[in-house]
Amino acid sequence: MFALSSLSVRFRLSAAIAVMFALILLVSVIGLRVLNRTELWMNVLHQDTLSEVSDALDLSRRAADLATSAPFLYALFPPFQLEQEAQNVRENLRLIEAHAASDPALDLPLARLSLAIEDLTTALVPQTARKADLTAIDRDMLRLNQRARRHAGDGSLPLAEREIWAELQQLTASALGAGRAEALIELGEFARRYRVLREQITPRIQPVHQQTFAEIQQAVARSAGLFVLKHNELAARLDAENALFRIRQEAGRISTFAEEKVTQAEARLSQARAETSSNLGIAKKSFLIFTAMSLLVAVTSSLYVSRYVAGNLRRIANAMRTLAAGDHSNDLPRARASDDEIGQLFAAFQVFRDNARKLDRRTGEIRRQNALFSRVFRNIQDGVAITSVDGQIEAENENFRKLLRVTSEKSAPPLRMDDLIARSAFTRQATAHERGGFEEYADASGHVLELRHSPLPDGGAVWLLSETTERKRIDERLEEIRRVETLGKVTGEVAHDFGNILSSISGNMHLLSTATEENASRVRERIGAALDLGVSLTERLLAFARKQHLEPQVTDVAQLIEGMADLLEIALPESVALHFDLPVDPVLAKVDPGQLESAILNLCVNAGQAISEAGSIHIAVTRDATDGACISIRDTGCGMAPEVLQHATEPFFTHRSDGNGTGLGLSMVDGFVHQSGGQMSLSSQENIGTEIRLSFPPLTGHTEAGPLAQARNGSGHALVVDDDPGHLRSTVEILTQLGWAVHQAPTYNDGAQALRTLPLLDLVVSDLNLDHGASGWEILELAKDKRPDCQLIVMSTRRITGMPATLQDVAHLGRIEKPMTTAKIKDLLHPQA
């Protein structure tokens, strides 16, 4: 069943049809064969049995003929007739023999018959001659008898003579009786009487009698003698009768044989009939059985098709219908019943249903999520808006406009975010760059809004607008409190330190007025030292305030550290091992080298102090992702607790218990790094160590010049043409930072206009794809025309390939792939001639 279940429906139906066909074929073959055999049988019966029967009948008739003709033969005396008849009988016999030639059972009877016929003819042929002799003798005797009776009755003659005549008469009567005897015994009786009588007479014979006696003697002895003849005749008659009897017997036998043959043929016939009918019966049964089997197969097949295939298809169709109607419950068996098409269909349906369920579940989830999102979207206190790729606001919640204090107009066309904000009373107070992720907007009445912008992968964006007026106010207040606190602390510390210095100076001044010349110089030295201290303290305060004087130069940071390595080693305890990881290639940064050295020294000494016994300090210089310089100082010291780390860069914060140090070290370094445009980051784990990373921005140009030259570099008048406000703004910002006076043109027409009217122009930067299909090349061509000395730069978001022939001869045509960066434009800007 399992094996069956794995067969396909197609295979099963094909197999059923094949079986049916085979059965029908079998039935036909059987029928054909049975008919053929029957026909053959009939033919054989007709040919063999019928001829045999006719032969047998013929034989029987001839045998009967023979039997009837043989006695007739006995009755015929004329020898020629006999001969003729015997010939006929023999002919008859030959015919029978010819008939029976094939049958050995007839040989003996036929031989006997032939012998009997031979015997009959042999016995009958001399009978005629004997009959004639016997008739002649009888006639003689009769005459002699009458002579003797007449002499015996003739009284005239002597008695003795008469007596002898009487005796002669008796003698002839005996001879006559013998001649007429019908049986051999009778003949014998007559023969004995004759001989007795002849003996009695012979002696008394008288001469008168002599002649008659001789005549009697003579008549009796005629031919072979009366008695012999008579005996032969009787014997021949017995032989003939015997032969006849035998003929009759054999003929009877032949008849019997023929009858037997007929009987046999009948038996064969009936057997053949029985056989044929049994064959036919078997064929009939076979027909019935195979037909029944075919019927069974056909019925099974049709049942299979109607019930299994069609039924299952209907079930699946119904299940599909219910599924389509949204009802996922169905009664189809989950487990796969078989491997055939139906089973596969079931399995496929189950997969389909599972998918539909999954889809349904997911749809439900999405619906729930959507509901959740829309609830959040509607009820969130912040304003939420979503913009499309082209900057149009696609969706916004009510709060968005409410927070912006803009009345909402339902029918208004979609706006851009900038337009919407422009319609409100709010103006931007801080950019996302300044605030670290959000823009700040404020209106005249002091409301502050935070606008967060999260780009979506498809190019659109989500905007989150939140009211931060209150928080801002609290923040500001807290900030102020903190500032005042810090200020107070710093002021107090500074006052204390300066108090010390001033006390020292005033004390020494006092001494100076009364000091001898010898002492005066020592007093002055002390005053000088106090002044040095004051100067040092001032420097540190300025450093913390990020207001110290720096002389930034392009410095190879690695080389700088390498150069001070010997000093560091001496400045640190011997138990502290110093490891340097410095690249061979220069790592350039624009910093004040002296101050950087001081900072590194400070940090290393700090690190050394964090190491109580033995330990190591690793100093590494690397380039960060933006190609800026990065210095890492990592120690294996005691580290800092998080709360200590938090305050580490505050001024006058010292964690050292011995009160050593001003507490200005880290704050100074921090101030210096920030004033140099860099960042300082600390990470520390207690009992593991501290790592301080100083990172400086990458060099923005190739200039080695000092601040004076930098200020003069790159200044001039620039025109920026870009239809994308964002790109326009960023490009303008970059150029302004580089010291350019920038005129911005948001459209092609504005750009062209500016090219014609601006009095001074040293640089033209244009986007390649401008508004209304205008090309940046046109702006640049116009610029080349109007301002031949101008430097030209084209920028695009895509790779810029090709260039109009008219611009081929421009010496310094720069190409920039957006986004625009300071470095990119710096690379292209060449010093003005």
Binding site: L537, R546, D566, I570, L601
Partner: protein, 240 residues
């Protein structure tokens, strides 16, 4: 305040009377003729063009900015300007194109450094001034530089002073007087005085770093001020 013709006339513009007094005295001591002005108006009152050889201007005047004056001078006259400021980050503005100051000093400044700067500026503008006489026997020379022990100054090959702070000078002098000897750190600390320790937990090293920047041609490859590992510092007079 009689101005000698041979002495360059220095206009001191400062709103603090004490400062004016001190600077005035310092100028006079250094062989200059000082004229004091309390504010911008005072400077303008000197005449047009003002009869001065150099203007020493404090950046912060009462109610006004020294920058305004500096710009004014730069626009009209050929007078060199040296500015004094308390805040380091404004230097760029001071010597920027607009202002065009010739030099600057951050308060508190070293008087000797101020004088040296003023002399240098004047020399650039063609006012050769007599330097204080130098007694050659007192000099300690190393490389192309020499230390004038008498006037406690460091001079370069052209005789220009390289400004040093007191502590820097004291350190350099000690090194120069003990050449080619490994000087251990504690010895240096003792020499410079323990009273500096409060702020000077690392001052020796800072001082040495600064000195190197001032005396070594290539600070990262010092030839004079070197170290001996685990021993201390050593000063070579001759560049090897």
């Amino acid at each position: 305040m009689q101005a000698d013709k041979s002495e360059p006339l220095i206009a001191i513009v400062d709103d603090d009377p004490n400062m004016r007094e001190t600077l005035s005295a310092l100028m006079r001591d250094s062989g200059f003729a000082p004229i004091c002005c309390a504010d911008i108006a005072g400077f303008h009152a000197l005449g047009d063009p003002p009869p001065v050889d150099l203007a020493l201007i404090d950046l912060r005047l009462r109610g006004e900015s020294g920058l305004t004056l500096a710009i004014h001078i730069r626009e009209r006259y050929e007078i060199p300007i040296v500015m004094l400021t308390g805040v380091g980050d404004e230097i760029d503005k001071i010597i920027g194109l607009e202002t065009g100051a010739d030099d600057y000093l951050i308060k508190p400044f070293n008087p000797r450094e101020l004088v040296a700067r003023i002399r240098a500026v004047l020399r650039r503008y063609g006012h050769g001034t007599a330097r204080p006489s130098v007694s050659p026997g007192q000099d300690i020379a190393f490389g192309t530089l020499r230390i004038d022990v008498q006037s406690r100054r460091l001079l370069d090959a052209e005789g220009e002073e390289i400004p040093l702070t007191n502590a820097e000078y004291r350190l350099l002098e000690y090194f120069a007087k003990n050449p080619d000897r490994v000087i251990p750190r504690p010895e240096l600390l003792e020499e410079l005085g323990s009273d500096m320790q409060r702020y000077v937990d690392r001052t020796i090293d800072v001082l040495i770093l600064r000195l190197r920047r001032k005396i070594e041609k290539v600070p990262s490859k010092p030839v004079h001020l070197q170290t001996r590992r685990a021993q201390g510092y050593i000063f070579h007079l001759a560049a090897t």
